[in-house]
């Protein structure tokens, strides 16, 4: 079954927004996605009719709100096939999730003489938290390089993993679109006695996620890229791992007892949720999960493969060698995220001209400066699609690039 994209688009009010009297073509979903009515309504209905603080208070509304909050946790757990909802920790965003992994697990497990493995295609959010900790603890960071066709070069993976305590890698590159062999990497990690931490920001919104099949030990992702609101991210980790990890942020909600000389932590997942959590946003994320389940992750992935094919053909048919798309050419091996160079025009100039045509792309280093250096680009323009992207969006991009040619 293919997606009824026209009907789906009607559910996203932002997509009918006009700028300068003309429709918009939103091609920046790898950055952040738009929100369907059901998410917006769930949040506003909750605030209008059911809002209450959760957890601490015993009145009826508080337990109703607590149930809604915990219900959203169960939805998220089901969405990624977690073993238990208590393995799902709500954070501020995926960046905080990865910082939690580094500051809690990393701080407790990494020291001088230890090593972790990252890859050359990581987002800064999966580099800097480890570098911050490495500066303090003195462990080694090793890097999985790239092949010429923008895949991870796994030829020396076993060597890199030897003696390493963890590998932390993206399941899909936010620049190249490359989908990495998550399961293979997790298996290799376990064979070497390391844990596998997956940055799922770019893959979780776009394809079925099954942490058990993946064999991952931790998975970080954000709500706002998967039709949910900003302000909430997720760190999933195996229960035994979370149990053994020290707390990250301290405060209310994460303790079971506090005395003048010590404290004890609450049970999972509260242990990692200090302070009042983003209750409304979590409710919104739960609604986003319902929405994605209704649409179907298999169908979303299939639609994005079709859109990838369409975009690839349209861009190369019109512009040939004048456009360089950084990333795998096989649509089965990539998501619908296209970083490209157009003639010799600087990406900021490309995106400025495209903006004039209401074609919204991102230009810059996409928070992946090491990767940009490796692919030899200071910046790229990036068009990225989602379940609501259609041929008209791609056609508008292709046509607007003509104007870039005429100015520069």
């Amino acid at each position: 079954m293919t997606l009824d994209v026209a009907a789906l688009r009607d559910e996203f009010p932002m997509l009918s927004r006009r700028v300068g009297g003309k429709p918009i073509h939103y091609l920046d979903s790898a950055n952040s996605s738009h929100k369907p009515n059901c998410v917006i309504d769930a949040m506003s209905t909750f605030m209008r009719e059911a809002y209450s603080p959760i957890g601490r208070s015993s009145y009826a509304l508080a337990s109703e709100a607590s149930n809604a909050y915990e219900g959203a946790r169960s939805k998220v757990a089901g969405f990624i096939n977690a073993y238990s909802p208590c393995e799902v920790v709500f954070t501020k965003n995926a960046t905080e999730s990865l910082n939690l992994a580094a500051q809690s697990w990393g701080r407790a497990n990494l020291g001088k003489g230890d090593a972790i493995v990252l890859t050359h295609m990581e987002h800064h959010a999966n580099i800097v938290p480890w570098q911050m900790l490495a500066k303090e603890k003195g462990f080694e960071i090793r890097w999985v390089p790239l092949t010429p066709d923008f895949q991870l070069d796994l030829s020396s993976l076993d060597q890199l993993l030897r003696g390493a305590k963890a590998i932390s890698f993206t399941s899909m590159s936010n620049v190249l679109g490359t989908i990495n062999p998550t399961r293979e990497l997790c298996e290799a990690a376990h064979a070497a006695g390391a844990i596998a931490i997956v940055d799922g920001c770019q893959s979780v919104p776009h394809m079925t996620t099954d942490v058990r099949a993946m064999g991952a030990d931790m998975l970080a992702f954000s709500s706002h890229k998967m039709c949910g609101p900003t302000g909430v991210g997720v760190l999933w980790a195996r229960e035994a791992l979370l149990d053994a990890m020290p707390p990250f942020l301290g405060g209310g909600g994460m303790i079971s007892e506090v005395r003048l000389d010590d404290f004890t932590c609450a049970e999972l997942p509260n242990k990692f949720e200090a302070g009042t959590p983003p209750i409304v946003e979590v409710i919104g994320l739960g609604a986003a999960v319902d929405f994605l389940n209704r649409v179907g992750m298999t169908e979303i992935r299939r639609h994005e493969i079709e859109m990838t094919n369409y975009a690839y053909r349209a861009l190369t048919a019109r512009y040939g060698d004048a456009i360089t798309i950084h990333g795998p050419t096989n649509p089965e091996l990539r998501g619908a995220t296209f970083s490209f160079a157009f003639r010799d025009v600087h990406p900021h100039d490309v995106s400025q001209v495209l903006d004039q045509h209401n074609v919204y792309v991102r230009a810059g280093h996409h928070c992946a400066k090491p990767l940009m250096r490796i692919i030899g680009a200071n910046a790229t323009a990036r068009a990225s699609m989602y379940l609501y992207s259609n041929e008209a969006d791609v056609d508008a991009l292709v046509d607007a690039l003509d104007d870039v040619s005429s100015i520069f």
Partner: protein
């Protein structure tokens, strides 16, 4: 067609396509690096200052048309000028970019010439930082040479 003529004036595109004073100067000329961490643009300004005059200036690096054209125009106007004039021009340019107020201390006879073409950038606030990257780096270079 687009409405971008205000931003991409012909004189700007000319400086972008054929930058003036692009390159490097050997020591004892000073080299100051500037960067725009948000967009990845990087620039180096080489300055040969003697007797209170910018005797020579070059720039190198990479960036968008606005940052490159602005740097090129800047080198063209400051070359051969006394430092007081250079600072006054820089100040006037920042006023043009609306990031500095006119406090009445800039001499009124300072002319920006071609650089006035960059005024269109003001309508695109995110691009102002592109236009001023070279100028801020120049000022930093002057500060370090004059101490």
């Amino acid at each position: 067609m687009s409405n971008l003529e205000d931003l991409y004036r012909e004189v700007i595109l000319d400086h972008y396509r054929s930058p003036r004073n692009k390159g490097e100067l050997p020591p004892p000329a000073t080299c100051t690096e500037g960067a725009n961490p948000l967009c990845g643009d990087e620039i180096k300004i080489f300055l040969d200052v003697a007797d209170g005059v910018v005797r020579d200036v070059r720039f190198s690096g990479h960036g968008c048309s606005i940052s490159q054209a602005s740097a090129s125009m800047m080198t063209a106007i400051v070359k051969g000028k006394p430092l007081t004039d250079v600072r006054a021009v820089a100040k006037r340019f920042k006023q043009l970019m609306t990031i500095e107020e006119d406090d009445g201390t800039t001499p009124t006879d300072i002319r920006l010439g071609d650089i006035e073409a960059l005024q269109g950038v003001v309508k695109y606030p995110v691009r102002i930082k592109c236009a001023v990257l070279g100028w801020n780096t120049l000022l930093e270079g002057l500060d370090s040479t004059s101490t």
